[in-house]
């Protein structure tokens, strides 16, 4: 059956199919191999990685990097902070964004046009870094963990997606029926709109979650105390600034030479895996929601 289908194809079509296969395979390889390589390198012997003998499978399994990471308190403090900021931050995001998106989705609510402009304008024009910094200073939010939660409470893009969902996916008849029964906007929102909108709640919830998890800027600019820094700042110090590790490895600044460099690299591979693993594990489950979000967002920019 399949063979017949192949035979019936014209040579040009067959060439196209083969070409397509090669291109797709190349795309897959280029996308996934770096990630795969980090994973196998993190559990292989550092010297073998450094001399290029590890490329397809892990060789001479060594957990040196992970042992170092497990013994380093900075990463765990960073992890704890990031989880706190992500959970609280996402909760605040949803509490603020969803009701506003619902209100703005009601067609009979005349001020919604000007309110949408009020929100959307901030996507294209902003006060910039310094006024923001001074504002946060005046509000004593500098070096305060709430700086991870409050300034980013509303993401206008997510607000627009949620509004589009409420506007297009909640049947108008439902609202009419509810208002004949005397339901107020509050009641309708909580009893009807929210339960019917789990899809959009997951989408923007996950957007917010990833945004908090990967947030590096806030910690860099607005926070001084190291104990309050999120995971991304700790990662920066280990991965990029080459700061020394508790065990003495790392900090390959020069004296240690290539030997120290190898171990520093192995720790880095491990750190990348440890910090990215939650996202990669969750990813297959979240993926369809993310995609849905882009689709909804594109219905009405």
């Amino acid at each position: 059956m399949r063979l017949n289908a192949l035979r019936r194809r014209s040579p040009a079509d067959l060439a196209f199919t083969i070409g397509l296969f090669v291109v797709c395979a190349a795309i897959l390889f280029v996308t996934l191999y770096p990630i795969y390589f980090v994973m196998i390198a993190s559990i292989s012997d550092a010297t073998m990685v450094a001399t290029g003998q590890v490329w397809a499978f892990p060789r001479r399994i060594s957990l040196f990097g992970y042992e170092q990471i497990l013994g380093d308190s900075r990463i765990w403090t960073g992890y704890r902070n990031t989880i706190l900021y992500t959970v609280v931050g996402t909760a605040v995001n949803l509490l603020v964004t969803l009701p506003a998106a619902y209100a703005l989705s009601r067609r009979e609510f005349r001020p919604r046009k000007i309110l949408m402009f009020f929100f959307a304008f901030t996507m294209f024009f902003n006060g910039g870094l310094i006024p923001m910094y001074l504002l946060l200073r005046d509000l004593s939010l500098l070096d305060n963990w709430l700086v991870f939660v409050l300034p980013s409470a509303v993401n206008v893009y997510n607000l627009i997606i949620a509004r589009a969902f409420f506007e297009h996916s909640l049947p108008e008849e439902l609202h009419e029926a509810a208002s004949i029964d005397g339901a107020s906007y509050f009641q309708f929102f909580i009893k009807m709109a929210l339960p019917l909108s789990m899809a959009i709640i997951s989408v923007i919830g996950l957007y917010y979650l990833v945004q908090h998890w990967n947030d590096f800027f806030t910690g860099l600019v607005f926070v001084r105390t190291y104990d309050k820094q999120p995971l991304q700042i700790v990662l920066r110090d280990i991965l990029i600034s080459n700061q020394a590790f508790a065990g003495g490895a790392g900090g390959a600044g020069g004296s240690g030479g290539s030997y120290a460099q190898q171990y520093a690299d192995q720790i880095k591979y491990g750190v990348i895996v440890v910090s990215t693993l939650p996202v990669i594990i969750l990813y297959p489950f979240m993926q369809r929601y993310f995609e849905k979000g882009v689709m909804i967002g594109s219905v009405k920019g």
Binding site: F16, I27, P99, A100, G127, L134, L135, F216, V221
Partner: protein, 315 residues
């Protein structure tokens, strides 16, 4: 609007009465929108109000709104600074390259992925290409550093294998290329979703008709798929143009090192160093405002052009 008929009989109510009626009917919606309005007012509009600092002398006691008016002093200082042209050049080179390559790549990817007929293979390809989008910038730059390390990096070795002179790719000469390629690697798949959605909505009868007329697959791509993407392309192009001078601060900042500073210092990183690290608040604000104004102008102009040329626009 259900209660419209009895009010029509009465004489037109005054503004106060109208307001009262609006409040009675919609106060709950206002309550729901209020927190979001408040947050955006405080954290987006107050900083905009603070932009006047660019025209004032910073005064520690006055805070956000600044002290004495100094007019365009700080803008002049920026235009005359020896850094000015370097910053403009670096910013434009990095952002324009990213804009062009980052605009074309997702379109190409979407056209390719759309050719895959088998649904589960297509799904797998999509899932794989979206993945890098969710890796944090810090990790991406960390990976770049390990892969590009002159002594033992994976990419360095591959380059050497093919006869290129590896060297320190993060050093200076290849900074822009490394930045742009890694940017495409990370976001190309994700940015192709919207194009794939547009391709999925193409009427399949068009394909059948084309096939009956004997069109090959490339012809179909050129004459059916690409035209179907044009409206989406224009909207995204306008949006991207609004970011011409908005290079990704975080990634460039993380990729900077003393060797590449000559090509990697951009307006955003300079504002951070001038404003936050050396506390020249007014000067930093002025540079930031200059940047924002250029972006905003580009956005408006591109939108106008698109409106005139193709009837597609943001507003």
């Amino acid at each position: 609007m259900t209660a419209a008929s009895p009010t029509q009989a009465r004489p037109r109510p005054g503004a106060g009465a109208q307001l009262a009626r609006h409040a009675r009917r919609y106060w709950q919606l206002w309550v729901m929108a209020a927190p979001a309005i408040a947050f955006v007012a405080v954290f987006a509009y107050v900083p905009m109000y603070g932009l006047q600092l660019a025209f004032r002398e910073f005064d520690f006691t006055a805070g956000l709104t600044g002290g004495e008016w100094v007019g365009l002093k700080y803008f002049q200082q920026f235009f005359e600074s020896p850094q000015f042209w370097t910053l403009i050049r670096n910013t434009v080179v990095i952002s324009m390259t990213t804009l062009v390559v980052g605009f074309v790549a997702p379109i190409a990817l979407a056209l390719i992925v759309n050719q895959v007929v088998n649904r589960s293979r297509k799904k797998f390809l999509q899932t794989a290409t979206y993945l890098p989008h969710f890796i944090s910038i810090v990790v991406i730059v960390g990976m770049l550093q390990v892969f590009l390390s002159p002594s033992s990096g994976l990419i360095t070795r591959v380059a050497e294998f093919f006869g290129a002179s590896g060297g320190n790719l993060l050093g200076s000469s290849a900074f822009v290329q490394v930045y742009v390629i890694s940017e495409v690697w990370q976001h190309c798949g994700w940015n192709s979703i919207i194009y794939l959605a547009a391709l999925a909505s193409v009427d399949t009868q068009l394909y059948e008709a084309a096939r009956i007329d004997g069109a090959g697959r490339f012809t179909i791509i050129r004459h059916i798929d690409v035209p179907a993407l044009v409206p989406t392309m224009i909207v995204l192009l306008i949006l991207n143009m609004g970011n011409v001078l908005n290079t990704g601060f975080e990634k460039i900042f993380l990729m900077q090192n003393p060797l590449n500073l000559g090509v990697s210092e951009v307006i955003a990183t300079y504002v951070y160093k001038i404003g936050i690290l050396s506390n020249q608040f007014s000067y930093g604000t002025a540079i930031g405002l200059f940047n924002t104004l250029i972006n905003f102008t580009f956005l408006v102009v591109t939108n106008q052009v698109a409106k005139r040329v193709s009837n597609t626009s943001l507003w």
